[in-house]
Symmetry: C2
Subunit: 247 residues, 2 copies
């Protein structure tokens, strides 16, 4: 029998999804695909930066099935991919069959969508879900620990949280070590280099209402920012908010 | 001012120690040093086998100072090293200056000595410490998840624990995720491929008395067994029980 997660992956594979994977109950993952020559540096970068890059699984060279997503094919099972070439976003596409090579290695990193269900179950409202939006994501001035060619600043996701829910939110997300864990910052966006909260670098903007405070979590889009800044030859990732569903 | 940990490291560096590092309160680490050509496979092996190989730190190529042990020099600060060449233990020595090369990379893995202090503080007796012995370690039939050339079985450390302390022991060690975490096996050594408990593969034997049960934890000596079995060209490690002191 097919699990609900597999059913959703197959729907995505058939091209019947076409939207972000926010608001689903499943565990989800960020995807990074790199040629073997970058793999050591990136694996080390993840080891040194477990908050933005909590490693869930690394494929063998050329493999495109993830063990934590049985019967998956990571070339087709993400709703939208990004192709980075020489430090530029070259293309967004719905599968990566034409780019696949036998020297590619995939990395799955935990995703904050995984803890969103736990927050909702404890009565914490997540406005981007209620409004049918992708989460808001921002480049920051928080420096990552460098590893070889991978060096740069952290990307964060932001959720407006009511003051009365702050402690509970931190408590709950602290338990999700493999999904970015507790927030990296609360309030005062300027302190982490975010100038205009209304204009996220990725995803959709969301209002901060009376009684709310913006809460920031390390984000698995971080490697994409670094690929751009460090002008990596080649890298494939998911498109922000369009994750691989696990299970 | 020098910390107690640094003082002990300097004593070791001066050659004034000359024994295992069991029974000290400090956080401690297993040491693995490999040429760059093996580094990716080993890093991946650690990622896939966090119980025997919980990664604490990976050095940059050629670096011999560990960030988690300020002012350390990993070429001198372990009481005893092992040099493995072509799948054989070539030498045991007190420093590795003559073997050091700029393409070497060090890996520090968490060590069960770290949780021993927490067990003692909660009133759990550790007989090897009371008897001034090194812990007993065994090869097992528990398969590790392979990664490139690294493939083989787990080494475990064993401590006799009283029945009434078992739950508490598991509870406490479960919290030390970066120091092998909870046991991998309780009782019945034969089930994990240990034939004669009186003859450990590393360290000192210890009696199991009335009312006690042998408890097994994943052990950072695992990479040494694999280096032997897979006939790696070159690898340097600590000698079992002779760890790097952190802090």
């Amino acid at each position: 029998m097919e699990s609900e997660a597999l059913k959703t992956r197959l729907k995505i594979r058939r091209g019947e999804w076409g939207r972000p994977t926010t608001g689903l109950g499943f565990e989800q993952a960020n995807l990074v695909i790199l040629p073997k020559r970058y793999a050591y540096d990136f694996l080390l970068f993840c080891q040194r930066n477990p908050k933005p890059c909590p490693l869930i699984e690394v494929g063998d060279e050329g493999s495109h099935e993830a063990r934590c997503a049985p019967k998956s094919d990571i070339r087709f099972d993400v709703p939208k991919y990004r192709i980075y070439k020489k430090g530029k976003l070259a293309e967004e596409c719905e599968d990566i069959e034409k780019y696949w090579k036998s020297d590619l290695i995939f990395f799955l990193l935990g995703c904050s969508f995984t803890f969103e269900r736990a927050l909702i179950d404890r009565g914490i409202k997540l406005k981007h879900l209620e409004q049918g939006k992708n989460v808001a994501m921002y480049n920051t001035n928080l420096k990552c620990n460098p590893a070889g060619v991978f060096e740069g600043e952290m990307v964060v996701s932001m959720r407006p949280i009511k003051h009365r829910d702050l402690v509970k939110t931190i408590e709950i997300t602290s338990k999700f070590k493999k999904a970015h864990g507790p927030p990296v910052h609360l309030g005062s966006p300027a302190e982490i280099g975010i100038k205009v909260l209304d204009v996220p670098d990725y995803g959709n903007p969301i209002d901060i209402d009376e009684g709310e405070i913006p809460v920031f979590w390390a984000c698995g889009v971080t490697p994409q920012l670094i690929a751009l800044r460090k002008k990596l030859d080649f890298m494939i990732t998911h498109s922000p908010g369009h994750m691989l569903i696990l299970g």
